[in-house]
């Protein structure tokens, strides 16, 4: 066992490690490019800039990684619920003792360093879910288990929502991927996707059209149904589905216009029509698209971007870091980044599938899901396919909390995975 505690001889999955460091290095260079000013030729290591600070974060992250690799793998398994409980406490604490940054009371400030506990809540929740499902006999078709699982996910969600961090809350939806793998009945994600689709449609088209569309669709279903299936019960069920959908669409309409706050509503509306107000609400999206679009095939070259450098794109070193990539490295840069991420999450899924313990497998799927969700939403919003939701691009975006949490998330899994290979070898 001593051998396994030696971090330098561990059976780490080198491919994942390579993809990880590729992301981190590219992220760092792009943060530098985003804050680079052609006038004073800022150094890559200047501690007063985001790039310099990111260097420091990368350094501390490496230390964290070593710590994770050094501790015994059973540590995470054993203390999963403890982490989770601790995290819940911290999330409650931050509501009262946190610092308000950009309208959300979700930060702890230590001197010049700010930490956002919501980022770490994902890790703790993933561990808790893995721990819960690790117990033999749990079954996602059982109502009781579903309720517990739901509880584990919803509790931190509510707390994060209370601190006005909608983006981080939505990330918890990514656990669906893991749940699906673990046997969640297909209709649940199907209903989820249908609901999301109806939501978008409700924003674009007048309600009446959607109602007609729903009616036509259900009518078609009945028409194509084998004659012997057309029982009164089935027809009633289909009718019920129709009524539920219509009610939902009406609800969405009401929700968007009457419940959501103005900036949230605008973020969603801009997704549907970015030309609503190019200098107001649509500014972020339009400028992001202009920056990326101006990169063309090969990009303008490292440090040559004008849009990101001159502050046209807001938050360009954090949430909109992909704009810098798109502008300076063009389509080729975007292709590399997307390929890197898809490769990474696919690799994690493949590794997860190989795990001996259910704990490790469930956790692996959680990691893949979380990373994938972030990438999808973050890149999606910069190219106008997703609403503007303030969540970072894993490993790329500037910020200690984000880099730390993603690294911890990933390396706990790599640690668990190294245990698997170690066992195989023996």
């Amino acid at each position: 066992m001593a051998r396994n505690n030696d971090p330098f001889s561990q059976n780490i999955d080198w491919l994942t490690l390579l993809l990880y460091f590729g992301c981190v290095a590219m992220g760092w260079l792009n943060v530098y490019a985003a804050v680079y000013s052609p006038e004073d030729h800022t150094s890559l290591f200047d501690m007063s800039t985001n790039a310099g600070k990111q260097m420091m974060w990368i350094g501390t992250t490496v230390i964290l990684i070593i710590c994770i690799l050094v501790v015994n793998h059973t540590f995470f398994d054993t203390f999963a619920f403890v982490f989770y409980g601790f995290m819940i406490l911290v999330l409650i604490l931050v509501l009262f003792a946190g610092t308000n940054i950009n309208g959300s009371r979700s930060w702890f400030k230590f001197g010049s360093v700010s930490i956002q506990p919501a980022e770490f809540a994902k890790v703790a929740t993933a561990l808790a879910l893995a721990k819960y499902l690790d117990v033999p006999g749990t079954n996602l078709t059982k109502q009781k288990d579903l309720m517990y699982i739901g509880g584990i996910i919803v509790l931190p969600c509510l707390l994060i929502l209370a601190s006005n961090e909608t983006g981080s809350t939505l990330v918890f939806a990514s656990f669906t991927i893991m749940l699906y793998r673990e046997g969640l009945p297909s209709w649940i994600p199907a209903v989820g996707i249908t609901a999301a689709a109806l939501f978008v449609l409700a924003l674009i088209f007048p309600k009446l059209y959607i109602f007609i569309g729903i009616g036509a669709l259900l009518g078609l279903v009945i028409l194509l149904m084998p004659r012997y299936n057309r029982t009164v019960a089935n027809l009633l069920a289909i009718g019920l589905v129709g009524i539920v959908m219509i009610g939902y669409v009406t609800g969405v309409d009401f929700f968007v216009n009457n419940v959501l706050q103005k900036h949230q509503r605008n973020r969603i509306k801009v997704l549907v029509d970015p030309k609503i107000d190019p200098l107001g609400v649509g500014w972020n999206v339009t400028q992001a698209k202009i920056a990326i679009g101006s990169g063309r095939l090969q990009g303008k070259g490292f440090l040559e971007g004008t849009q990101t450098k001159f502050d046209f794109v807001p938050e360009q070193s954090t949430d909109f870091i992909f704009c810098t990539i798109g502008e300076e490295h063009g389509f080729i840069g975007g292709l590399v980044v997307i390929a890197l991420f898809i490769g990474l999450v696919s690799r994690i899924v493949i590794l997860a599938e190989k795990q001996r313990t259910k704990f490790a497998r469930v956790y692996g799927y959680c990691v893949a899901g979380i990373i994938f969700f972030h990438v999808m939403v973050n890149i999606g919003m910069t190219i106008g396919l997703m609403p503007v939701i303030g969540i970072p691009l894993p490993f790329f975006s500037y910020g200690g909390s984000s880099l730390w949490s993603f690294s911890i998330l990933l390396f706990i899994f790599l640690k668990l995975d190294s245990r698997r290979t170690a066992l195989t070898r023996r």
Binding site: R181, E327, I338, S346, I379
Partner: protein, 654 residues
């Protein structure tokens, strides 16, 4: 079973990845609107307008230069004015002006600067500069304004002002933009391209707040501004100013040309005005006032007015008749048989006829000219003769544009046989007896002062001329004179035929039709007077004309003077011409008595005698008086030039 769901999951990953890549490919490679958007919002085109070229006279005296002024720009969104009325007082504008300017600016853009006030002088700007700190949203931009230290030549120079909508729309090569300055009329328009230079464009990178972040691509696409070229003219400013002063209280024109080169030395259009009036920010107010002035100071009389040449045309008659062979220097005609009155004793030979301006003599000369073609039918002979007459006179540049370097030259009229055919309703329906008034320069002839000064120069050269022109060259070297101003135009009249005519012209000044005082010692002035009939509008007096050159041998200056409504040509016009020639040749004036006489004379017609004048309608106090008020301007001009009432301030030296 459940393991296979990993493929579904990886499938979703790849699907999303592919969707995003497709979208990226569309955004970055296929659709270029975003890339254009990028250059639009981060790369700013900064236009540099070069200094307009200055204008000099032949002795390198400055006529036009640029004074730095300030244009005040306003960005409506940033404007914070605590007290509008105080602000307007400071800016010297009315509150309603302020509202309309701000309204226009806001309409154009809330966030981009618009012009608020043009051409604040250094003094005005210094006055408001400190106060401006308290008013946000106003930004001064340095610009320049044409300034005329010599206060003369206004019509010949033209003026520089904002480009008109029509000019903006009709340019062949898109160069000007809204709000650009352009030369109008005169030399400013004629040499616009050389004077304006070429403006430069710099591409600057700007951040989201519009702060400059250095030049784009290290200036690879920038073009440097090219300063306008200085224009050297042939004008002699000292003589020009002197001629201006001689023409005060007169309406008319003075033109002087150097015969050997065709360079215009003096170009007076009277009444004149100070060109600086059209160069300030009160341009439109001043322009309107000049436009409404009944004496029409904006007409550039040397090239735009057409007069009947009167007796000065006898010179051409004498020359072409000799060339035709129908007249010898020794030919003598009396008064008998001519319908024309004359004030001389008659019995002159050619020399004497020119000297005394004998009308019957030239009546007979012209008759012989028209019938000098072997045709016995007088109608046919007249048509043939007139054609010949037209073709020979045309060689002197009469009846078409000479090609002076001003955009507003008028053609005038030299009647052709066809012209009379049309007037009399068919061929062979007119003959000499219908057109004989041409013989003494009356009738249908219309000639501008420019053509007459050219005639004087031609005679001074004894047979050829170079098209009169204002330009001498560009820049220090004086290169760039258009080739057409080096070309000699021959008149087709032999040298020898000029001599008796010139003898007569000298005689006219020495002891002929010209007032004795004008025969200034030492300049050997030769000339011909003319009295252009002017009874069209019931005027009492005819126009006074004189053309001439000096000295007789090796002439240095040719002059043409028109004084409207001044009567007999031998006095008003000849006196001015003699004084101008003397000042040019001697650089001083010795004929003090003549000068005194000219300065004291006043030939301004009363306003009520001007064409287009309407009797002021007495207005009842209820009606809007503004509409019916007669133009208030000119009364004071005529009585006292020293006093400076409101309008007289811009009409000078007339």
């Amino acid at each position: 079973m459940l393991e296979n769901r990993k493929w579904v999951i990886i499938g979703i990953f790849c699907l999303v990845g592919l969707t995003y890549l497709t979208r990226l490919f569309y955004l970055q490679v296929l659709d270029d609107t975003y890339s254009l958007g990028a250059s639009k919002n981060s790369i700013k085109r900064v236009v540099e307008i070069p200094y307009r070229g200055q204008i000099y006279d032949r002795n390198n005296q400055l006529i036009v230069y640029n004074t730095p002024v300030y244009d005040l720009y306003v960005t409506p969104k940033q404007v914070r004015i605590p007290d509008t009325s105080a602000f307007c007082r400071m800016m010297n504008i009315s509150v309603s002006d302020f509202d309309s300017i701000m309204g226009l600016a806001s309409n154009y853009s809330r966030v981009k600067p618009s012009l608020f006030l043009r051409q604040l002088s250094k003094e005005d700007f210094a006055r408001i500069q400190d106060a401006l700190v308290d008013y946000r949203g106003f930004e001064p931009v340095i610009s320049s304004m044409r300034t005329y230290p010599a206060h003369t030549l206004s019509n010949a120079l033209g003026y520089v002002s904002e480009i008109s909508k029509k000019q903006l729309d009709s340019q062949d090569i898109l160069y000007y933009r809204q709000g650009d300055y352009i030369g109008h009329n005169g030399l400013e328009e004629q040499y616009e391209e050389q004077l304006r230079g070429r403006r430069g464009v710099k591409f600057m990178m700007q951040n989201v707040h519009g702060v400059n972040k250095g030049s784009w691509k290290n200036g690879a696409y920038d073009t440097l501004a090219v300063a306008g070229q200085n224009l050297i003219t042939g004008i002699d400013v000292d003589v020009q100013k002197y001629a201006d002063s001689l023409m005060q209280n007169k309406v008319g024109a003075v033109l002087a040309v150097e015969p050997a080169t065709g360079e215009i030395l003096v170009s007076v259009s009277a009444p004149t005005y100070d060109p600086n009036l059209l160069s300030s920010r009160f341009f439109s107010k001043n322009y309107r006032a000049l436009l409404r002035n009944p004496y029409k100071p904006l007409i550039n009389r040397p090239v735009m007015s057409s007069y009947r040449p009167g007796s000065t045309f006898k010179l051409i008659q004498a020359l072409i008749a000799q060339q035709q062979g129908s007249l010898l220097p020794t030919t003598v005609y009396g008064h008998a048989g001519s319908p024309m009155r004359c004030h001389c004793r008659g019995g002159n030979n050619l020399r004497g006829a020119v000297q005394n301006s004998c009308n019957p003599y030239f009546y007979f000369v012209f008759r012989k000219f028209l019938y000098f073609n072997g045709e016995h039918n007088t109608f046919k002979a007249s048509a043939i003769g007139l054609k010949q007459w037209h073709d020979m006179a045309e060689k002197f540049g009469i009846g078409s544009k000479l090609g002076v370097d001003l955009p507003s030259e008028k053609k005038g009229n030299l009647p052709t046989p066809e012209y009379y055919d049309k007037a009399y309703g068919g061929t062979l329906r007119w003959k000499f007896s219908n057109v004989y008034s041409l013989s003494i320069g009356e009738g249908e002839l219309l000639i501008s002062p420019l053509k007459l000064v050219n005639l004087a120069a031609t005679i001074a050269n004894r047979g050829w001329f170079i098209t009169p022109h204002y330009i001498k060259g560009f820049g220090k070297s004086g290169a760039g004179l258009p080739a057409e101003y080096l070309e000699r135009h021959e008149t087709g009249i032999d040298y020898k035929y000029y001599l008796p005519v010139i003898d007569g012209m000298r005689g006219a000044v020495a002891h002929g039709t010209v007032t004795p005082l004008a025969n200034i010692a030492g300049i050997d002035l030769c000339g011909k007077t003319g009295t252009s009939q002017n009874n069209k509008f019931g005027h009492k007096f005819d126009h006074s004309i004189f053309i001439g050159f000096a000295p007789m041998n090796n002439p240095k200056i040719a002059v043409a003077v028109f004084v409207e409504n001044a009567g007999w040509g031998g006095k008003a016009a000849a006196s001015v011409a003699a004084l101008v020639a003397e000042r040019y040749l001697k650089r001083k004036t010795e004929a003090k008595k003549l000068e005194e006489q000219v300065l004291a004379s006043n030939y301004m017609p009363p306003i009520s005698g001007l064409p287009g004048y309407k009797k002021p309608v007495p207005v009842s106090p209820r009606k809007d008086t503004a509409q019916h008020k007669p133009a208030p301007a000119p009364k004071p001009l005529m009585t006292d030039t020293k006093a400076k009432p409101v309008v007289a301030a811009f009409i000078r030296g007339n």
